[in-house]
Subunit: 86 residues, 2 copies
Amino acid sequence: MSEAEKNRITVDIYGQHYTIVGTEAPDTIRFVCSKVDDKMREINSANPYIDTGRLAVLTAVNAVNDYIKLQEKYEDLERQIKQLKD
Amino acid sequence: MSEAEKNRITVDIYGQHYTIVGTEAPDTIRFVCSKVDDKMREINSANPYIDTGRLAVLTAVNAVNDYIKLQEKYEDLERQIKQLKD
């Protein structure tokens, strides 16, 4: 299988079926989707009356926030490596 | 303001109002939400007939996938730093 070949995976997230197409391995796609499902349930337990669309948007906000925080830590490590190499 | 104090920000994401509560700075929260809005519009342009709830779930899948890929790169850098320090 070439690296660029796309996988087509059917997953369940928060009780709905989704067909996800991506170059990642099927197990990676399933893992990512299970993380989204977990996060939606976690946010729902704190906001029980929220509708699914808004819950999913807040889940995306949460994930992008985590990404940006990790990106800052990543840039710190890059600076550290540069100093160690200089 | 103590570090633990929470900010309460009203933002617009994909035409809906959200009140986001978090310890991050208001500008950071707004930046994160604008990224989610951008990503939803990008995914929508590739899937024009998708409903908003499913679009938001796919946006969350996308964000968590980006996070996991960055986490792998972060762990690589940590290993590199360890080797440089040893």
